[in-house]
C-alpha cells in the first residue's frame, strides 16, 4: 500500500502539469489502486478454485454419469445415481453407522473434554506437563492407533477381552456385534481427540474474566455452582465451535473403521457392513468397484448433509451468541 500511496500523487502531479487529460502513468496508478488488492488476495482464490471448487463441481458433473474407471465414453444418466443411492439399503446402513459412531464419540468426548479442561484450569503442580500430556494422543499416528486398537479389541486374542475374561465376564466379539464395533471405534476416536478438544475449551475457560468468578464467589456460589452458572454459559460459543468441527470430522470418519476390519485392506466394514461408514462406502465404490459416478453421488450427498448440519449449528450459534449469558445475573 505504501508503494501505491507514493506513486499515485506523483503521477497525478505529473498529469496536472503536462496536460488536463490523464496520462498513461496516471491511469496506471489508478488501475494499481483498483486492481492490486484483488491480485493480493487472488492466490487464495486461485488455490481454492483448483483444489476446492473445481473438484467439488467436477464431482457433481461425474455424478451424472455411469462412469466406471477406465471407461472411454461414460454414459450420461442424469440423476439416476442419486435415485439409486436413495434406494440403496447399504448407503442408509452406512449413514446410520456413521451417525451412531459420531454420537458415541462426540458426546462423551465433549463432556470429558470440558471436565478435563476444568481440571487442567485448576491449580495443578506442573500444569504445562499435564496440558502437553493430554495432547499427546493427538500427535500419534492415526494408522498406528488404528492398528493398535484393532489389536486390543481382537475377539479372540485381544487384550480387552482378556481383561474381561480375567474379571469373570464374557468376552465380546467386537468385530461381529454392531453396537460393540461402534463402541470400539468410538473409543479409538475419543482417545485421540478428547485432549485436543480439552485444550480448546481450556483456552476459552481462561479467557473468562476473573471478576465474574469473584462476584459469584462473593454471592456465595460454590465450585459446582460457579462451573454451571458462570463457566458453562460463557463457554457456549466455544462448545459450539468444537461441536461443529467434531461433526465434520465425525461424519467423515474413515481410517478407524477401515483399520478395525479384520480382513486386511477391506472396505466392507465388517462381515455384514456392520461398521461401514459413508466415507468407507464411498471409497469402496470408487476404488474397489471403480464406480466413479456412484461414488461421486455419495460424496455429494455427504457434502450436503455436512452443510445442512453446519447451517443448523451456525443458526444455533447466532442465537446463543445474541443472548449474553451474564444477563441472567
Amino acid at each position: 500500500m505504501t508503494v501505491i500511496d507514493k506513486v499515485a500523487p506523483e503521477g497525478s502531479k505529473a498529469g496536472e502539469r503536462t496536460s488536463p487529460r490523464p496520462t498513461f502513468r496516471h491511469k496506471l496508478s489508478r488501475w494499481d489502486v483498483k486492481v492490486s488488492p484483488y491480485l493480493y488476495v487472488a492466490p487464495f482464490f486461485i488455490v481454492f478454485g483448483i483444489v476446492g471448487l473445481f473438484p467439488l463441481l467436477y464431482t457433481a458433473y461425474v455424478s451424472m454419469f455411469d462412469w466406471k474407471a477406465g471407461d472411454d465414453n461414460p454414459e450420461f444418466i442424469g440423476f439416476d445415481n442419486f435415485k439409486e443411492l436413495f434406494a440403496d439399503s447399504q448407503f442408509w446402513n452406512a449413514l446410520a453407522n456413521t451417525v451412531s459412531i459420531f454420537l458415541l464419540s462426540s458426546i462423551p468426548q465433549l463432556v470429558i473434554a470440558v471436565l478435563l479442561a476444568a481440571l487442567l484450569g485448576a491449580r495443578l503442580r506442573g500444569a504445562t506437563g499435564w496440558r502437553v500430556g493430554i495432547l499427546l494422543p493427538y500427535a500419534a499416528s492415526l494408522v498406528a492407533i488404528g492398528i493398535i486398537f484393532a489389536n486390543l479389541f481382537g475377539p479372540k486374542y485381544g487384550l480387552i477381552n482378556g481383561v474381561l475374561q480375567t474379571i469373570g465376564l464374557d468376552p465380546i466379539d467386537w468385530q461381529a456385534s454392531r453396537f460393540g464395533s461402534h463402541v470400539a471405534i468410538a473409543i479409538m476416536v475419543n482417545w485421540r481427540w478428547t485432549g485436543y478438544n480439552a485444550l480448546i475449551v481450556l483456552a476459552a475457560m481462561q479467557a473468562i474474566p476473573k471478576e465474574l468468578h469473584e462476584a459469584a464467589l462473593i454471592d456465595g456460589a460454590g465450585m459446582w455452582r460457579r462451573f454451571t452458572a458462570v463457566t458453562l454459559p460463557l463457554l457456549k460459543p466455544t462448545l459450539i465451535f468444537v461441536t461443529i468441527t467434531s461433526t465434520i470430522g465425525g461424519l467423515q470418519i474413515f481410517t478407524e473403521p477401515k483399520l478395525f476390519d479384520a480382513m486386511p485392506g477391506s472396505n466392507n466394514g465388517g462381515s455384514t457392513n456392520q461398521f461401514q461408514t459413508v466415507t468407507l462406502y464411498l471409497y469402496q465404490s470408487a476404488f474397489e468397484n471403480y464406480n466413479l459416478g456412484y461414488a461421486s453421488a455419495i460424496a455429494w450427498v455427504l457434502f450436503v448433509i455436512i452443510v445442512l448440519i453446519a447451517l443448523v449449528n451456525f443458526f444455533l450459534t447466532g442465537r446463543l451468541a445474541r443472548t449474553p449469558a451474564v444477563k441472567k445475573k
Binding site: A150, G154, K156, Y157, A176, S271, T272, E288, N289
Partner: protein
C-alpha cells in the same frame, strides 16, 4: 569415472548379447522384436510385495548397457492394484512393465485393449511352451491376445500340525495323512473326527480360505463365460458352500480372518490343525508361527479334490509404455526359467515355467522348518496336478473379496448358513449389476 565404467560394461554387454542371441537363435527364426542396442532406454518396472528381482535388475542392466531399469516396489497388493486400475483409467502414470496378481487379472483382462499383445511384440523365445499351459492361458483375453508373462505360481498342498494330529490320535506321517486330504468330503469328515477327539479344537483357520480353494477348482466360477453372474445356477458353488458351512457348524473353523492380526496370533497359539497351503504360504507360516513351532508343522503332497493354484502374478506391458518392445524383452527375461529359479532362491516365489520345474536347484530344495520336507519337488508335483484355468469374468475377484468372504465370516460370527448364502448372492448381484 562413470563413463569409463559404462564403456567397459557396454563392451561386455555387447559380447554377452551376441552370445545370448546365438544361444537363443538355435530355436528358429531371428527375433523380430530386437531393439536398437545403441539407443538409450529408460524402463520402469512396478511390483508389489516380494518378487525377488532385486539382484536380477542390475544383472539385466549389465547385459543391456543401453537400458536403465527403475524398479518401483509397493508393499501391499490391494492398494497396488487400485493404483494400477486408476492409472489405466487416467491413461498415464503406469510403469513400462507392470506386475498384475492372478486375483486381479480378470479386471485387467477386461481392459485388454489397454495392454500390448505380447505374442506380437515379445521376443520369440518367450513362446507358450515355456510356461505351464494353464498359467499361460489364464492371461489370454477373449480375443486371443496374451497380455502377461507368468511369473510365479501358488500350487496348493496341505499343511498340518503333526503334534496336534498325534495328540488327537490321527496319523501324522506325511504319507499316512494323504488319505485324509483326498477329497473335500474326507477332509471335512476327518475334521469332525479331529474336533471330537481333541475336545473341540479347530480343524482349519477360516471358512473363506477353504471355500476360495474349492470354488477355484470348479470348471466355472462366480462368473459364466458369457460374463454374467452364475452364482445361483452353479450347483458346484452351492455344494461347496454347504460343505464349508456344515464344517463351521461342527466347530471345525477357528473363525480367524486370513491375514488379520488374530490369524497371525492363531499360528503362534496353535489355534487350528490344518491349513490350505499354496507354495508361498510356507513362508507365512514360518514367519507367524515362529521358531518355537519349528518341526511341528508339516506339508504333504495332497490336496482335497486334486490340485489347485492360489496366487502368482504376471508381467504386463501397458500400451502407455513408450518402449513396448524393450519392456516386453525385460518382462520375458525376468520370467525366463533361469531367472525364475533365481527369484525362487531369493524370495521363494515358485516358478511357473516347465523347464524350471525340473531344475535340480528347485527339486533339491528342502525346508528344515517343515521337518526337512522336499518342498521344491512336492510343489512341482502339485503344480502339474492343476488342470486348466477357470474362466474369471470381470468382478470375480471382487465377489470373492466382498461377497463370499464376508458372508462366510458372518456365518462364523453366528449367521445361519441360509442367510449367509442369501447375503453372498445379493452382494454378488450388486457387484455385477
Amino acid at each position: 569415472m562413470r563413463t569409463i565404467r559404462n564403456g567397459l560394461v557396454l563392451a561386455l554387454g555387447i559380447t554377452m548379447t551376441a552370445l545370448g542371441a546365438t544361444a537363443c537363435g538355435g530355436g528358429g527364426d531371428q527375433t523380430p522384436a530386437a531393439a536398437n542396442p545403441n539407443e538409450h532406454v529408460e524402463l520402469t518396472l512396478s511390483t508389489f510385495t516380494e518378487f525377488g528381482y532385486e539382484a536380477l535388475i542390475p544383472e539385466y542392466e549389465r547385459l543391456h548397457p543401453n537400458i536403465k531399469v527403475t524398479h518401483r516396489k509397493t508393499g501391499q497388493g490391494g492398494p497396488y492394484h487400485q493404483d494400477l486400475i486408476t492409472k489405466l483409467a487416467a491413461g498415464s502414470g503406469l510403469a513400462d512393465v507392470a506386475a498384475v496378481e492372478e486375483g486381479h487379472l480378470s479386471d485387467v483382462l477386461d481392459k485388454g485393449s489397454k495392454f500390448n499383445d505380447l505374442t506380437k511384440i515379445g521376443p520369440a523365445d518367450a513362446s507358450p511352451d515355456r510356461w505351464l499351459g494353464w498359467k499361460y492361458d489364464a492371461a489370454k483375453t477373449k480375443d486371443g491376445k496374451v497380455i502377461g508373462y507368468g511369473t510365479d505360481i501358488g500350487p496348493l498342498a496341505m499343511c498340518y500340525r503333526k503334534d496336534m494330529f498325534k495328540a488327537a490320535g490321527l496319523p501324522d506321517d506325511p504319507e499316512a495323512v494323504k488319505p485324509l486330504f483326498a477329497t473335500w468330503d474326507s477332509y471335512f469328515a476327518a475334521g469332525a473326527d479331529y474336533v471330537a477327539k481333541s475336545k473341540g479344537k479347530a480343524w482349519f483357520d477360516s471358512a473363506a480360505q477353504n471355500f476360495n480353494a474349492m470354488v477355484n477348482q470348479l470348471p466355472q466360477g462366480y462368473i459364466g463365460s458369457d460374463d454374467k453372474l452364475a452364482v445361483e445356477g452353479n450347483q458346484g458353488i452351492k455344494d461347496a458352500w454347504t460343505k464349508v458351512t456344515d464344517a463351521v457348524a461342527k466347530g471345525e473353523s477357528a473363525k480367524l480372518t486370513a491375514f488379520s492380526n488374530e490369524w497371525n496370533s492363531g499360528f503362534k497359539q496353535g489355534a487350528f490343525a490344518t491349513k490350505v497351503c499354496p507354495a508361498w504360504m510356507l513362508g507365512v507360516i514360518k514367519e507367524q508361527a515362529g521358531p518355537e513351532n519349528a518341526n511341528k508343522w508339516a506339508v504333504t503332497a495332497a490336496f482335497p479334490g486334486g490340485g489347485g493354484n492360489w496366487g502368482g502374478s504376471y508381467l504386463t506391458v501397458p500400451t502407455q509404455s513408450k518402449h513396448p518392445k524393450e519392456a516386453a524383452e525385460l518382462a520375458a527375461w525376468l520370467t525366463a526359467p533361469e531367472q525364475q529359479i533365481k527369484a525362487f532362491q531369493a524370495k521363494g516365489t515358485f516358478p511357473s515355467q516347465v523347464k524350471a520345474l525340473s531344475d535340480p536347484t528347485l527339486l533339491s530344495q528342502t525346508d528344515a522348518y517343515f521337518g526337512g520336507a522336499k518342498v521344491g519337488e512336492l510343489f512341482a508335483e502339485q503344480a502339474k496336478k492343476v488342470q486348466k484355468p477357470q474362466y474369471k469374468g470381470p468382478g470375480d475377484g471382487q465377489i470373492q473379496e466382498n461377497a463370499s468372504s464376508p458372508a462366510l465370516q458372518a456365518v462364523e460370527q453366528g449367521k445361519s448358513a441360509a442367510d449367509g448364502w442369501q447375503q453372498l448372492v445379493d452382494q454378488a448381484k450388486k457387484i455385477t449389476r
